[in-house]
């Protein structure tokens, strides 16, 4: 495999993209998980499905779209969806949690319409749904790298605000932290991470890469900082192991990456039980 990595450009592209999203997906995912908004990642990835399917369909109809990378429209849809969720959450305060399923359903609905209209686009679509080792172009890699840089800068600059808002929204507002636009930026960043990750892990599994490593990390991490570091380490482990397995088995990497992340989570949960390290929530349940 190492030789193949040197001799095939596409493999290099896939691996480098994988390494990058292995960092940013769990990082953004940590903020999502601690705020119990894991469904947002799902909703946005399904919205990007509508964008991708729309782009693939249009590429059969309009010459312009034939030359356009579907990832762009997918990402644009996710960003649009993220802004819409924020808007809905504000307008229907009492039905905050409804905003997410509404957007999620809209994403699947439009996705299904475009897919049926196009009368199927076979392997192309499967690549977007479950990821692909061979479909990542140099251009895709560049896009992923640029997006990742934006996400990392965002987290670096707003780390303390993001932590404060995630831990206690009421306190943040009372203390004078104007979280409105930071929240909107955060949603856009989430959409960008989804856009960057979908080539490798696939639309259906992006949210798993954002949440599973985090779920494992917060089982053992005491501090937020260590939770972030651990999430990234476990995310990278899943991506690398998953990509290697996908290469040898010649299957879509999304599945192998996510299954690796699940195995890690099970191992962490099992290990904790064995060592008697228990989570406060577990103690409460036992009490």
């Amino acid at each position: 495999m190492i030789e193949a990595l040197f001799s095939y450009d596409f493999l290099q592209n896939a691996f480098l993209s994988g390494l990058i999203i292995g960092v940013i997906a769990p990082m953004i995912g940590l903020f999502i998980v601690v705020r119990r908004l894991a469904l947002i990642a799902d909703a946005l990835s399904h919205v990007s499905l509508a964008g991708i399917a729309g782009s693939l369909y249009l590429s059969q109809q309009v010459v312009f779209f034939a030359g356009l990378n579907p990832v762009y429209l997918g990402m644009a849809a996710a960003v649009g969806g993220s802004l819409l969720i924020e808007r809905l959450r504000r307008v229907y305060r009492n039905f905050e949690e409804l905003a997410i399923p509404i957007i999620l359903s809209a994403g699947i609905g439009f996705g299904a319409i475009f897919i049926s209209l196009a009368k199927g686009f076979g392997s192309d679509l499967v690549g977007y749904l479950f990821g692909s080792v061979s479909a990542v172009s140099r251009q895709d890699l560049t896009v992923v790298a640029v997006l990742a840089a934006a996400v990392l800068v965002f987290i670096y600059l707003f780390y303390k605000e993001l932590f404060t808002l995630s831990f206690d929204t009421d306190y943040s507002r009372a203390s004078g932290l104007n979280g409105g636009w930071i929240q909107i930026l955060f949603m856009v960043m989430t959409a960008l991470v989804i856009g960057a990750s979908m080539r490798i892990v696939g639309i259906l599994l992006v949210s798993s890469l954002m949440t599973l490593p985090v779920a494992s990390a917060i089982q053992v991490a005491k501090s937020f900082r260590s939770a972030m570091v651990l999430s990234v380490i476990l995310g990278e482990t899943s991506v690398i192991a998953g990509l290697v397995a996908a290469f040898y088995l010649d299957i879509a990497p999304g599945g192998t990456i996510v299954v690796t992340a699940i195995l890690i989570l099970l191992a962490v949960l099992g290990g904790k039980r064995l060592l008697g390290l228990r989570h406060p929530e577990a103690e409460e349940e036992a009490a």
């Binding site: 600059l157 780390y159 932590f163 306190y171 507002r173 004078g176 260590s226 939770a227 406060p280 929530e281």
Partner: protein, 257 residues
Amino acid sequence: MQGSLVKLTDVSFSYGSSAVLKDITFTVNPGEFWALIGPNGSGKSTLIKLLLGLLKPSRGTVELFGKPAGDPDRKERIGYVSQKSASFNSGFPATVLEVVKSGLTVKRGLFRRFTEDDSKAARRALQAVGMEDFTGRNIGELSGGQQQRVFIARALAAEPELLIMDEPTVGIDQQNSASFYSMLEELNREHGIAIILVSHEIDLVTDLASHVACLNHTMHFHGGRRDFAKLGDRDLSKWYGHPVRLIHQKEGGGSDD
């Protein structure tokens, strides 16, 4: 001379169709220490949320530091301990120090990272509530009272100009609660920090505070502690809607200023 810190004018509020507060006018000036009392469900927490800008009044105006409450560009610092602060997500991966430092986020300002000074300020605040040995502990692994003390430290860390605390000592043992109250007294007297304290420990807080506000959907009384001390249990019982007996520890002998 600085204007009032908090100013509510003819404020009414209802959750949906159920009216909770009616025609509240209430002012807090610099240096004042207010005890806000009233029975369960009388609207104390609601009033606090209104004056912090967390809720919008149905009628009337709420001003904080001379600007409409909820003004996103407020620079003045407020330390807030909410009534249910211990009901956060208990699996949250954060240490005590990280939580207390989050009280310094606004003070440090956008685009700046925490410094060593911030960690020191957080440790000082933890020391003030006797939690300095817990800095590295996970917040979810502390007892309820310990968590509450951490949230008090978070409110103190930024050296606020106004402290707003909604039943801060619930769940805190007697000794720590006593030292907490004497710390409040000191913050108010020595450092001139204005305080609004919601509590059901009526005897205690109406002796401690310089001013008392008695709320039960409307503001039945607000004024200096001495005037409050002149009231009889009859008035209080009427406002509370059930018998209330006060034992004034410092009656007559209290030094007001």
